[in-house]
């Protein structure tokens, strides 16, 4: 269903301004929350089943409950607005069009966690959004929702916006903390986790923009009601940013009950493949998650309909499934070359590797070079095996998940599109002028019971 909890009011004229947002029911969750016990807010979030919307899908309430509370030590909430996963532009949309929703979510969450200084770490390139957020913060402050003694409840809060400066790795929470401390974005070794030792060595929670915005409807309707939306462990609504070769790229909100097929072909969402082409492949959750050929995308290996939720998208594990990830939905039509697309992603990860761990620093560069060779008709068949070997040696062998994120797209491309790689190797001159095309990637699969 096209149920909207976050973006319902995003297109109301003037919603960026406090007065309009307030008239539309905004900041009600703050009024409610400030009369509650902080621990019971955490309980509501636990009951809601909300899972982190940045990509990992970890239970938000559980993450909050890990926050250490030593006497006399400040605690911090940091909002991760470093949206950098290729294919993902949902947080940008939310912050740009309905900034007060994020500020409202931050006030409630800061109160629940006991943070009196909360930081929004936003990717440096979203420069114009900084002004939008700062305007919203100033308006909230003028109206008594920020600053000292908010709504007379004795709670003080300031929210600050901090710009990054171009580094995908700063989306990883410990790299983000390092960056916020004015350092290179090198991820930290965990444990200790930020909940124990985070920003300036104080207990810290880092949550994604969409996650924190979702706290608003959770408090308004109650965790149990929120949990009734969706299916299974995919509760509430999810923002999906759709891009690539589709008729209607954009940001869509839905509860997680619709099928992938409906999402791609319905006019309510992507509106079908652009230019009357056929669907070849899709990366459903941001560039790090496995790419799937059309047949495995629309149906699971068991022949069941695949849905736009955490469980269904990962059905089959990495052998035949993918992941919800960040909700960055990238569609490739029949004219696209999977080798070339994978090459751009390998280049991305090589560029974004922080360089701390050898498997990632060296391996991402090797993968890019080998893909470059294959794409340019200079590959040999052992290159495909070499590529497989390198990605396998990166995965699981690095401090942070960037190593895995770099390995998975290459692994999935070889797993599902190996014949396209082989075609490049076997047709070195043809692959420079022609594409492998749709091949068999949309064919009905025989289901082994």
């Amino acid at each position: 269903m096209a149920r909207k909890l976050l973006l319902e009011k995003a297109h109301v004229e003037g919603i960026r301004h406090f007065d309009v947002y307030r008239r539309e029911g905004g900041y009600a969750s703050v009024e409610k929350a400030l009369k509650m016990d902080p621990a019971s807010i955490v309980e509501e979030v636990k009951k809601s089943g909300l899972r982190g919307r940045g990509g990992a899908g970890f239970a938000t309430g559980l993450k909050w409950s890990f926050l250490a509370k030593p006497e006399g030590v400040p605690r911090y909430l940091v909002c991760n607005a470093d949206e950098s996963e290729p294919g993902t532009f949902k947080d940008r949309f939310l912050m740009e069009f309905i900034p007060h929703l994020l500020i409202e979510g931050l006030i409630v969450s800061s109160f629940a966690l006991g943070s009196n200084s909360t930081y929004i770490y936003i990717r440096g390139e979203y420069a114009w959004i900084v002004g939008i957020l700062e305007q919203a913060i100033a308006e909230a402050k003028q109206n008594g929702f920020l600053g000292k003694n908010i709504l007379g409840a004795g709670f003080d809060l300031e929210i600050y916006v901090q710009r990054g400066a171009g580094a995908y790795i700063c989306g990883e929470e410990t790299a983000l903390i390092e960056s916020l401390e004015g350092k290179r974005g090198n991820p930290r070794i965990k444990p200790p986790f930020p909940a124990i030792k985070g920003l300036w060595d104080c207990p810290t929670v880092v949550n994604n923009v969409e996650t924190l915005a979702a706290v608003v409807p959770i408090i308004n309707m109650g965790g149990e009601e929120y949990a009734k939306i969706g299916v299974g462990r995919s509760t509430g609504t999810k923002l999906i940013s759709a891009c690539g070769n589709i008729n209607k790229p954009g940001v869509y909100e839905m509860d997680m009950t619709i099928s992938v097929e409906e999402f791609i072909y319905s006019d309510e969402y992507c509106g079908g493949i652009a230019n009357g082409k056929k669907l070849k492949a899709c990366i459903p959750g941001g560039s790090s998650v496995p790419i799937l050929p059309a047949n495995l995308l629309l149906k699971t290996a068991k022949g069941e309909t695949r849905y736009m939720n955490y469980e269904s998208l990962s059905d089959g594990g990495f052998a035949s499934g993918s992941m919800m990830g960040s909700g960055g939905f990238i569609v490739l039509d029949e004219d696209q070359c999977v080798v070339r697309h994978t090459l751009t992603l390998a280049r991305f990860y090589r560029h974004e590797s922080c360089g701390q761990c050898s498997p990632c620093r060296e391996g991402t560069g090797w993968m890019e070079k080998i893909l470059q060779k294959i794409e340019n008709g200079k590959g040999v068949s052992s290159d495909i095996d070499l590529l497989w070997d390198i990605q396998r040696k990166i995965e699981g062998n690095t401090i942070c998940p960037l190593g895995d994120a770099a390995a998975w797209p290459v692994a999935a491309a070889i797993r599902h599109f190996r014949d396209e790689f082989e075609w490049h190797v076997n047709n070195p001159s043809l692959c420079l002028t022609q594409n492998y095309g749709l091949a068999h990637y949309a064919d009905e699969l025989s289901v082994v019971a």
């Binding site: 400040p74 949206e83 950098s84 996963e85 290729p86 294919g87 993902t88 532009f89 940008r92 200084s117 930081y119 990717r123 440096g124 390139e125 979203y126 420069a127 114009w128 300031e158 600050y160 901090q162 710009r163 990054g164 400066a165 171009g166 580094a167 995908y168 960056s179 916020l180 401390e181 004015g182 350092k183 290179r184 974005g185 300036w200 940013s241 759709a242 891009c243 690539g244 070769n245 790229p249 954009g250 940001v251 990366i283 560039s287 960055g328 990238i330 490739l332 696209q336 070339r340 697309h341 751009t344 992603l345 280049r347 991305f348 560029h351 974004e352 922080c354």
Partner: protein
């Protein structure tokens, strides 16, 4: 160029430092480097970086190691307008390779170069979070999206008309 913030900019610097607890002023480094780059010619010279170090009372090396890590900081002089064209997967699917080739031939420069009149520098960048509005590029504080050769023509002409 004299490397020193105006009184007005210095107030901004102080406001940034005030966002953090006492003693945690190093957190202001990246925001201040952005300011320095804007104020001192669009790039960070060693002199600019040393100046930022002196403001924050940290070692110059602490500034260099940060400035060299983040891709938005230019460590060499750039043109008046920097065209940063995204080339990652989703933009590639929508023809960013053609856009990059078009800009190269129109301006007669390679990626990483600046036009002889000092007006434009061309850079390629990795995903900027505008995948649904591809192909795209960043120019200063803003994004230019849904690029076509004619839109590129318009943007370049606009820059020349508003020198």
């Amino acid at each position: 160029m004299m490397v020193k913030f105006s009184e007005h900019k210095m107030k901004e610097v102080e406001a940034i430092i005030a966002r953090y607890p006492t003693g945690k002023h190093k957190s202001a480094l990246i925001p201040i480097l952005h300011l320095a780059q804007e104020e001192f010619g669009g790039w960070l010279s060693a002199e600019s970086m040393d100046y930022v170090a002196s403001i924050l009372s940290i070692a110059s090396i602490e500034v260099y190691e940060v400035a060299t890590f983040y891709s938005m900081f230019n460590l060499n002089p750039v043109g008046k307008h920097v065209l940063e064209v995204c080339q990652t997967g989703p933009c590639m699917l929508q023809g960013s390779d053609d856009i990059i080739a078009y800009i190269k031939s129109k301006l007669g420069i390679a990626v990483g170069e600046t036009t002889a009149d000092g007006m434009f520098t061309l850079k390629t960048v990795e995903c900027l979070g505008a995948c649904g509005y591809a192909p795209m590029m960043q120019m200063g504080m803003h994004y230019k999206e849904h690029l076509t050769p004619s839109k590129v023509d318009e943007i370049i002409a606009h820059c020349y008309n508003h020198k």
